[in-house]
């Protein structure tokens, strides 16, 4: 419906920004609270678990090129049921930016602006994300490209600088034969990070080469997992498991407890700044995909006005997340519910697709 075009690589970079932002903001907090020794097994368990909905999404996107989940659901289960099953996903897209903004504002206020109220920072973060979303999907994708193309190498440099503080003995044993994390809610909360591929479902109508989208989805998952592994290793190596598990944002603590140098007191503190970029763009993409979906249902020629309405509503609702624990709990519950629900509806759509056995569209180059 909307003529915006983004490339498959841009989608990949958008997914990458979810990994970068999530690792800094909440993922490691959840992960370290799921186990007693080291979190590498739950990390890769989460990755494997997420392959189920990711595989279904990739299969559907390839089967229906240039159609997003709204059109797919509309064709496969009818307009009414199509709306009913996809609408909760749109709600999730609209809810997540508020919780993420609150968590990010906590980080900024703790590290930089001790006297600024977190609510004010939440409003600023939401305002910037919404403004970027009003510029459209293409602008969001291009902003994100720049962030990752230029800033990702800097992040790697920061990581390398941090390695001098790591004590490898703190990270051992790598393999922990204890599967008690399967009953921990934090483990399921951490799954939220692996759901970045849902944006593909919403933007499939704007992507070229979408028949090969599975390469991007799975490729990004592997790269994302490696990134998460590195951050987890850095935290463990610096703080140790016992201390790391006591913090909601252990990566932040790792940064603020580094040794002093001569010129830059805490060079890694710049990492927080670098996380802000993907945090803002990942929120913008969630907002823009939600608004596009609503706009498509309402047959609006320009969905951007919905972003302004969303902004007004979300700013009004932002005091709901004033206590940090509310934002954390939102993510804790949103992760498993979203993943379960997404898997379920993707299964329904896949079965309906096979049932109806539609003519498979010819692959496009």
């Amino acid at each position: 419906m909307y003529s915006e075009k983004i490339s498959m690589l841009q989608i990949g970079l958008l997914m990458a920004s979810f990994f970068v932002a999530g690792a800094g903001l909440y993922y490691n907090g959840f992960l370290f609270q799921t186990v007693d020794y080291n979190p590498f097994v739950p990390l890769f368990s989460g990755l494997l678990l997420s392959f189920i909905p990711a595989g279904l999404a990739a299969w559907l996107c390839a089967r229906y090129p240039r159609k997003n989940i709204l059109t797919m659901a509309n064709e496969l289960v009818g307009p009414f049921f199509g709306f009913l099953i996809v609408f909760p996903l749109v709600v999730a897209h609209f809810t997540l930016p508020l919780a993420i903004s609150r968590i990010a504002s906590e980080l900024i206020v703790d590290v930089y602006l001790e006297q600024t109220p977190p609510w004010a920072m939440t409003v600023v973060l939401l305002s910037i994300s919404c403004w970027i979303a009003t510029l459209g999907t293409e602008a969001v994708a291009r902003t994100n490209d720049e962030h990752l193309v230029i800033i990702f190498p800097l992040t790697m440099i920061m990581f390398l600088l941090s390695f001098s503080d790591i004590r490898p003995e703190l990270t051992r044993p790598y393999l922990q034969v204890d599967f008690s994390y399967w009953i921990q809610p934090e483990f399921y909360g951490s799954l939220l990070l692996f759901l970045s591929f849902t944006i593909v479902l919403f933007l499939n109508n704007s992507i070229s080469h979408s028949t090969k989208i599975y390469r991007m989805i799975f490729g990004l998952k592997f790269i994302g997992a490696i990134y998460l592994f590195i951050t987890a290793y850095m935290i463990l190596g610096t703080l140790g498991m016992e201390m790391a598990a006591t913090f909601d944002q252990p990566l932040k603590v790792k940064m603020t407890t580094l040794r002093e140098t001569v010129f830059i007191e805490r060079i890694d503190i710049f990492l927080v700044l670098l996380w802000l970029f993907p945090t803002v763009t990942s929120k913008a993409v969630l907002i823009v995909t939600g608004a596009r979906a609503l706009g498509q249902w309402m047959s609006l020629p320009d969905y951007r006005r919905l972003v302004i309405i969303y902004y007004l509503v979300i700013i009004t609702l932002s005091p709901l997340m004033l206590p940090f624990q509310h934002a954390k709990r939102t993510l804790l519950y949103l992760g498993p519910i979203w993943m379960l629900y997404l898997t379920l509806i993707l299964l329904i759509l896949a079965v309906a697709s096979l049932w109806k056995n539609p003519q498979k569209a010819s692959p496009r180059r």
Partner: protein, 537 residues
């Protein structure tokens, strides 16, 4: 759009522009109903008509000739200073006066004159008064024959113009040093000298209701995207304006977002830069009396590229482009903001020694850091503005007075700290690392934007500012091409020539961004290296 919305818009327009409607003159005659007047057959009537139309100007001259071999009288008419009078005397007046050939009066005498008697390289027969006036104003001569309601245009215009020399605003150490001049003919020749391809198209148009300036839209057929070429031509055609003085003005007029501060077209005086742009599938627009070409579509990265990047090793080019783009660009915009952030919010990012130094240098200064920075930046920009427009002899003195004396005096008077003076000096230097000066004003303005964000939110504010600027730049398009193309990952191949300049072997294709027809620019496989001789080199 609904009818109600249309009504509301028209009401609003009526409210806003009511006074203009009263002021505006009635529209000129519609072309469809305009009757073209035929030239008068009498020489005196033609003279009177031209004098009346042009308001009896002092530079309009007439020369009557009565060739001994012909029965008719002839009249030459031109505007002094616009025509080559030597050529007129030698190739028109003299042959007419000395001819002994008796032409058949029954044939078209003007065409016969053009073919047999006068020896100019280009002529054309015209019949209407409008054509006659336009040709006269274009600097051509008219030859009237008594009793005929037509005239011969002799294309012998010769405007005064500069000679081709080095572009002042885009100087390079290596590469050609010839630049475009104000003459369209010279510019056209310079371009043809660079691209001797039969598919180089130089489509002529007119621009300006009153100036009627010549415009050339240059592109390479078979490379440039045809719909984009048509869109450019359409935009120029639809520009109904009195006069456009320069391509930079044309660039502003063609912008769709009036509040945009980033240049969406690239103006260049360099011949090599423009010909390279044409080879990438872009379009160059030349305007009469303008010493530069306007190249569209323009990308953000273009303003940090220099021709020298391609005349040196890719490793060196990457290093220097990185210096310009990452350090030059970012320091210009962000260094004053970082000063504000570190002094306002010393949150432990920088070492305690540096914080103490900064605090010591600010001791006794009455202003808060933000005002101190704003004061010094405004002073810097005033000095830059003044030095740009002052005569060169005085300009140097202004810089010395502004830079050294005022800076030193400001520190001694406790108006600014020593570190602040260093920050301003570095900002002033990094300002100039941009390779195309069209981007400079935007960079200068943005540093204030960053300072304001830093004043409120410290280092995090700088990140917010950077994000919003990047998003805004990301939303811009130049003739349908995203402004951040090549830098963003739409086409991976195009990223090989952005901040990172890769080997020419990786740039064998034209940028995919421009959707060119012929995509390949170099068949590197055909290249046969003589390995032995290369070893010696």
């Amino acid at each position: 759009m609904t009818d109600m919305e249309n009504d509301r818009k028209s009401l609003w327009k009526t409210f806003l522009y009511k006074h203009r409607e009263k002021e505006s003159t009635p529209p000129p005659e519609e072309d469809d109903y305009k009757v073209e007047q035929v030239l008068p057959s009498s020489l005196l009537a033609a003279k009177e008509m031209l004098e009346k139309s042009l308001g009896k100007p002092g530079d309009l001259f007439f020369r009557f000739i009565k060739p001994p071999a012909l029965k008719r009288k002839f009249m030459i008419c031109a505007l002094e200073g616009l025509v080559d009078q030597k050529e007129l005397s030698l190739h028109v007046v003299e042959p007419l006066q000395t001819t002994k050939e008796v032409l058949d009066e029954t044939e078209d005498i003007l065409e016969a004159l053009g073919e047999k008697i006068i020896s100019v390289s280009q002529w054309e027969k015209i019949d209407t008064t409008d054509e006659a006036k336009n040709q006269l104003l274009d600097g051509n001569s008219l030859l009237f024959a008594d009793g005929l309601s037509s005239a011969l245009v002799i294309f012998n215009h010769e405007y005064e113009h500069r000679t081709v020399n080095e572009p002042i605003t885009e100087q390079v150490i290596r590469g050609p040093i010839e630049g475009f001049v104000e003459s369209l003919q010279v510019n056209r020749a310079l371009l043809r000298k660079h691209i001797k391809d039969e598919r180089l198209r130089l489509d002529s148009m007119r621009l300006g209701r009153r100036s009627r300036s010549n415009v050339i839209v240059a592109y390479v057929d078979g490379i440039a995207n045809k719909p984009r070429v048509d869109a450019v031509k359409e935009d120029i055609k639809s520009l109904d304006i009195d006069i456009v003085h320069d391509v930079a003005e044309l660039s502003v007029l063609l912008q769709k977002r009036s509040a945009n501060i980033f240049p969406l077209s690239m103006t260049s005086e360099r011949t090599d830069k423009v010909s390279a742009a044409l080879m990438e599938g872009r379009i160059a627009i030349f305007l009469e009396n303008s010493p530069a070409a306007m190249v569209v579509p323009a990308l953000f990265i273009d303003f940090w590229r220099t021709p020298e990047d391609y005349y040196s090793s890719p490793v060196l080019a990457t290093f220097f482009r990185f210096l310009r783009m990452i350090f030059g660009n970012h320091l210009t915009m962000m260094l004053p903001a970082f000063y504000v952030a570190f002094t306002n919010f010393p949150s432990g990012i920088i070492g305690s020694q540096l914080i103490m130094n900064m605090a010591a240098s600010r001791e006794g200064i009455a202003f808060p850091p933000v005002l101190e920075v704003l004061f010094m930046l405004i002073l810097l920009d005033i000095i830059l503005e003044a030095s740009q427009r002052l005569p060169r002899l005085v300009g140097g003195a202004t810089t010395i007075v502004g830079g050294l004396i005022l800076g030193q005096a400001a520190v001694q008077a406790k108006l600014a700290s020593n570190i602040m003076v260093i920050v301003v000096a570095v900002t002033a230097i990094t300002n100039l690392t941009v390779s195309n000066l069209a981007m400079l004003p935007a960079m200068r303005l943005l540093k204030y934007y960053f300072v304001l964000w830093a004043a409120f939110f410290g280092v995090a504010g700088i990140v917010f500012a950077a994000t919003t600027v990047l998003a805004y730049v990301g939303s811009l398009k130049s003739y349908g091409i995203p402004y951040l193309s090549q830098m963003s990952a739409i086409h991976l191949r195009d990223v090989f020539d952005t901040i990172y300049v890769f080997s020419p072997k990786m740039r064998t294709h034209r940028p995919r961004t421009f959707k060119t027809i012929d995509g390949q620019r170099w068949d590197s496989k055909k290249m046969k290296y003589n390995e032995d001789s290369l070893d010696d080199v």
